[in-house]
Amino acid sequence: MGQPYTRLYATLRARSAGTTRSTLALTLGVAAALVPLVRPVFMGFLDQPEIPTADGLREVWIRASAVALVSMGLAVHGTVLRGGARAVLQLHPVDPVAVVREEVGAALRSQLPILLGLCILLTPIGLSVGWSAWAVGVGLVLGASLASLTTSTVAFLGAVEAAESPRWAPVLDQLRGNNPRPQAALMYALVPVAIVAGWTSMQAAQAAAELWRAPGGPVFAPGALAAALPWVVAAAAWPMVPRVASRNWFRASLVLADIRARYESVIDPLEARRVAWDWTLGRLPAPVAREALGVLRYGWRVRRSVLSVGWLIAFAALAMAWREDLTAPLRAGLIAGAVGWVMGLVALQSTQSEPAFLVVWLDRADTSRALGAAWAVLCWSSSAVLVGAAASLLRHGVASAASTAALGFAGVALAAAVTAVVVSRRGGIAPFVAAGLLVTAATAAWFLGRVA
């Protein structure tokens, strides 16, 4: 029974190969451009002899593994649980195990740009410490990603069962706030993933870093085998996937529909028509405002979890900027810029899901669509930048706040520009893209000068 599913997903993959290649090229390009920024901010140990190499490597590997882990967890949520294929397949007697297997493959492929980008970002380690250290880092990141892939699949599909279980009801009621109970089960499904895959990734990074404890490392020790822990976790969780898939894949549609219905029943109809950031649209040209409103509204309704995660990352920018460390404002700026990329993805998904005939029939201008999407990215992500900049202002002064804001908005501008390019599918908005790239490049140059 596997064949039709494999053929289906292979065809869908082939049809979106152009977009996949563009995303990969863009991500790798951005990662390469960020290498000079990443080295002084996150890899200070390479230039400071007083910091032991092993400690520096451990910290970098833990951070890179955390990025890979969270990104994969979100990808599994967006593919296996809430992927677009579900709406089509749930009406047919499909084999849920085969579907989930293909969806897991799709989630993994979707993360290739991130994983390859992280490999590029780790290259300063290869250049300064040695390529064996770089290879170990790549292995750790890949292990964390795979551990997250399988444990997230089990966790999200398992959460579907927990969402309807009376046994879990008291716990979920304590956690859910204003959300429906089933939504709380899905929201917190990443917690066990963070505990299992996150803890093992930290242990793995610790064990691997010990190889470089002695001067002139690496020096092998049996304890370093613990570096394979995330791979073991990934392999151990995989056999559980068919069971949770067959039990809960169809059931997930019911739970998701229930969540939607509960939200719609509790939201006041007037409130439902209101959109965050719609007050910014008043001074925009009407066609752009209309498109931006569509993205803001649709993005919030369909991808509110991703937007919420983006805003959670914004709090990380605040926490980062609050530290005494002199590089804290710049790190906060980088985090805020990353939020721009998360929001850019939401805007892209909002516009890419529209049927082509709708765009043609309604005679919607390409430039307006692109600018509308870019405006939505700016609105959503500016809060992250402003939060980080405000914290920098309070803790480090005006100049530092300016650097946080500049770096954050540079990332946001680049994300908005890339979003606009992909949405428009034509070259009519090249000037805006050029402006985005220029702002980014100028800020990066200014930042490098400041660090130097």
């Binding site: 869908l12 709406a87 219905a261 509790v266």
Partner: protein, 236 residues
């Protein structure tokens, strides 16, 4: 003796404080062409969403050919072809590719026949993302017809079709019913039900307010019955 095609047993559905469906009991035998009518918000789409396994009832159960939809959804879907009001499709596939996938999943043949019935033949190799709403509906209908399922559930599936296609589809549905299949057609267009169905079930405010044989009604009598029952509902 084979189980009835569709059974609703004390089905209730609440959305928060709103009761969308209120204790519906309904048994549809095999070989029946049943129209489900009601005003906007009467609970038709909620009933069909529960029947196709997309929504769980707050109370009661639903059986398709004896299989509980919410206990064994895959088992129930093997007996069921469904066209929702707004069908979701793979936009990056052609209709032929999508239908081939559905045929493979159902172990069915008859892809070309399904394309011919729905009038999609000439456009079958274009990507679905280029289709109009009517063509998307035809694609979903062709997918539902594949494998000759014993139960067909159609939510406003005929009204969006052009008249020649609608006539061919109605004839095909009648052929399926004569061969023992059961069709449940939801619409708010009374004339459609009057023209094709043998039995009509009327919903108002989530309750079944009428369940009659179409043959027992005088010509054009369905609309007046519909309005009468609606008025009675409004009057309490």
């Amino acid at each position: 003796m084979s189980a009835p095609a569709i059974v609703f047993e004390g089905v209730r559905k609440d959305y928060g404080r709103v009761r969308a469906v209120d204790r519906v009991d309904l048994t549809l035998p095999r070989g029946a062409f049943v129209g489900l009518i009601g005003h906007n918000g009467a609970g038709k789409s909620t009933c069909l969403a529960m029947l196709t396994g997309l929504l769980r009832p707050s109370e009661g159960r639903i059986l398709v050919c004896g299989v509980d939809v919410h206990v064994d959804p895959r088992g129930a879907l093997r007996h069921l072809g469904a066209v929702p009001e707004n069908p979701a499709l793979f936009d990056h596939l052609s209709a032929r590719e999508f239908l081939q996938f559905v045929a493979d999943v159902r172990g069915a043949s008859g892809l070309d026949a399904a394309l011919e019935i729905t009038g999609l033949g000439e456009d079958a190799d274009r990507l679905i993302r280029e289709y109009s709403q009517g063509m998307r509906r035809k694609t979903a209908l062709a997918a539902a017809l594949l494998g000759e399922p014993e139960v067909l559930v159609l939510d406003e599936a005929i009204n969006g079709l052009d008249p020649p296609s609608a006539a061919v589809v109605k004839a095909e549905l009648r052929r399926r019913v004569d061969a023992g299949a059961t069709v449940l057609l939801s619409t708010h267009v009374v004339e459609t039900v009057e023209a094709v169905a043998d039995r009509v079930v009327m919903l108002a405010h989530g309750r079944v307010v009428a369940d009659v044989d179409v043959a027992s009604l005088p010509p054009g009598g369905m609309e007046s019955m519909f309005l009468e029952r609606m008025q009675a509902e409004r009057d309490g």
